[in-house]
């Protein structure tokens, strides 16, 4: 095994940071796959530091009120609505 080996606790920790629950068998598969994938990413070590001077300008516009979706249209996918607080079933009651 290389020093890139990932252990199951690391996978669980990252899953926790990412707010994704995993089944035990997923943790097992990801542990093995992440070791291989991160080892491949290791090749980036050989990349020289490179100047990154993108010639870009910010695009600005006046902050004016324009026509937009109504509250009903904007919230048409929300199953449960609670006055000023809107949300999905189970979170807002």
């Amino acid at each position: 095994m290389s020093d890139n080996a990932v252990d199951p606790d690391e996978v669980r920790h990252v899953a926790d940071l990412a707010r994704v629950d995993l089944e035990d068998d997923e943790v097992e598969r990801f542990t093995e796959q992440f070791g291989d994938i991160l080892e491949a990413f290791e090749a980036l070590d050989e990349v020289p530091a490179t100047e990154r001077d993108a010639d870009l300008a910010n695009v600005m516009r006046p902050d004016e009120v324009t026509e937009c979706l109504s509250q009903d249209e904007a919230l048409r996918n929300a199953r449960v609505r609670g006055g000023a607080v809107q949300g999905a079933e189970g979170v807002v009651r």
Binding site: A18, L22, I37, L38, L44, T50, G90
Partner: protein, 425 residues
């Protein structure tokens, strides 16, 4: 519906009565928002999501008179090279039995290849238009970053992706590009292309006399033998029509696919945070701690490839690893850009096989994500460099499997790649 599972939804959307696309059907990838018609991104998470507005490209299609026959199947959130990760089932390759159609815009390429739609829109983050176009024997264009509005495209990796056309011929792809291209006040990354003569379709005149083609040797090394032979046959064809070619070195592209995956996964880990069952997505209705209920909703709503990329992106951005992965990947991206710019000073276009392999057998990529990622070696550098590229059919392997030829041009050089590609298709 189709027997190769090309569509997720087949609700028809009629466009205006006349316009350049009147009487033609344009299928739309299911990560592009359509007002009142569900847009799933190939995910269970968005099974019931109905956008309240049209993407800018959809508005433009409707104004141009196109009819949208349905929303095409895709790898979940665009994450895949085979269109096997959709929650709505895999797409089969309509022109190569038992093979994948390529991805992630596999449904879009398949409906065009099968003749079920005249044209289609896909999106290309690391090859997702060009790969399925190559595998299904049709034409696909990945525009210069900023040519086509991404407003209404459900984001996977914003800094890399563009919406683009898939069509049976280069001329038809160019006609569709004409309709969707151009600045949009809703997408601040769009800009006006520099002035050029004539429409994109006018450029599809097949005239390659005097065209100078660079061939990056790194993109042929390690490619499948039958693919390389088909590629050189197509190059001979271009040479017979008056083009010349020379080999070029692009040392940076050896690191492009790794850089691409680090950047794309990192952006995805942030972009997909909104699918938590409250802001977007199916909630599952869990009680208790919000973070725990989000995590359960995401466990249920996302497929394995999406989870893999969100986790790896979270890892690459986390304290202690950011400099090692993300910062290095941005260095690689800048290096790739420099390499392409230099090579394009001595050549009008750069040519390579679109994919280093012929269409894979169905099912064989699912267990081995790293091998699937590495198949994107020839397409991902173009997204890192923000450049335009076209994939045109180059011929078939002795087994009868389609091979695509990729032509890469300078920024906003769509006409150059269209002209070069039109000599072949």
């Amino acid at each position: 519906m189709t027997d190769y599972n090309g569509y997720v939804t087949t609700e028809r959307i009629e466009g205006s009565d006349d316009g350049p696309l009147a009487g033609r059907t344009v299928a739309v990838k299911d990560n592009i928002s359509t007002e009142g018609v569900r847009t799933t991104c190939g995910s269970k998470m968005l099974e019931d999501y109905v956008p309240p507005y049209d993407a800018t490209v959809v508005e433009r299609l409707k104004d141009a008179g196109a009819t949208i026959p349905g929303k095409t199947n895709m790898d979940e959130f665009g994450m895949g090279t085979t269109t096997e990760t959709s929650a709505y089932g895999p797409v089969e390759n309509p022109v190569a039995e038992g093979r994948v159609p390529g991805g992630s815009s596999g449904g879009s390429a398949a409906v065009v290849a099968a003749g079920d739609a005249d044209l289609a829109l896909g999106s290309d983050t690391g090859g997702s238009i060009r790969c399925p176009a190559a595998f299904c024997g049709v034409v696909g264009i990945k525009p210069t970053y900023g040519l086509v509005s991404r407003y209404g495209l459900v984001a996977y990796a914003n800094s890399l992706e563009q919406i683009g056309p898939i069509a049976p011929t280069v001329e038809e792809a160019a006609q569709l590009l004409e309709v969707i291209a151009g600045p949009d006040e809703h997408d601040a990354t769009t800009r006006e292309a520099p002035d050029s003569e004539g429409s994109y379709a006018d450029a599809a005149d097949g005239d390659v006399d005097g065209l100078s083609i660079g061939v990056p040797t790194e993109l042929l090394d390690g490619a499948d033998e039958a693919v390389v032979e088909t590629f050189w046959d197509a190059m001979d064809d271009l040479e017979a029509q008056g083009a010349t070619y020379h080999e070029v070195d692009l040392p940076s592209v050896e690191h492009a696919v790794e850089a691409y995956y680090v950047i794309a996964m990192s952006e995805a880990s942030s972009n997909l945070a909104r699918f938590d069952g409250v802001r977007y997505g199916v909630s599952g209705g869990y009680e208790g701690n919000w973070n725990e209920s989000f995590a359960r909703a995401r466990e249920e709503g996302f497929g394995e490839e999406v989870k893999r990329r969100i986790l790896l992106g979270t890892y690459a951005l986390s304290a202690g690893y950011h400099d090692k992965y993300y910062k290095k990947a941005q260095d690689a991206r800048a290096w790739v850009k420099q390499d392409f710019d230099e090579a394009l000073e001595d050549a009008d276009v750069l040519a390579s096989p679109t994919m280093p392999v012929p269409p894979m057998k169905r099912g064989e990529s699912l267990e081995d994500p790293l091998t699937m990622y590495l198949a994107d070696a020839n397409t991902t550098p173009v997204n890192l460099a923000n450049l335009p590229a076209i994939s045109v059919p180059a011929g078939e392997t002795p087994e009868g499997l389609p091979v695509g030829l990729q032509l890469v041009g300078p920024a906003f050089g769509e006409r150059t790649v269209i002209r070069a590609g039109s000599a072949l298709a």
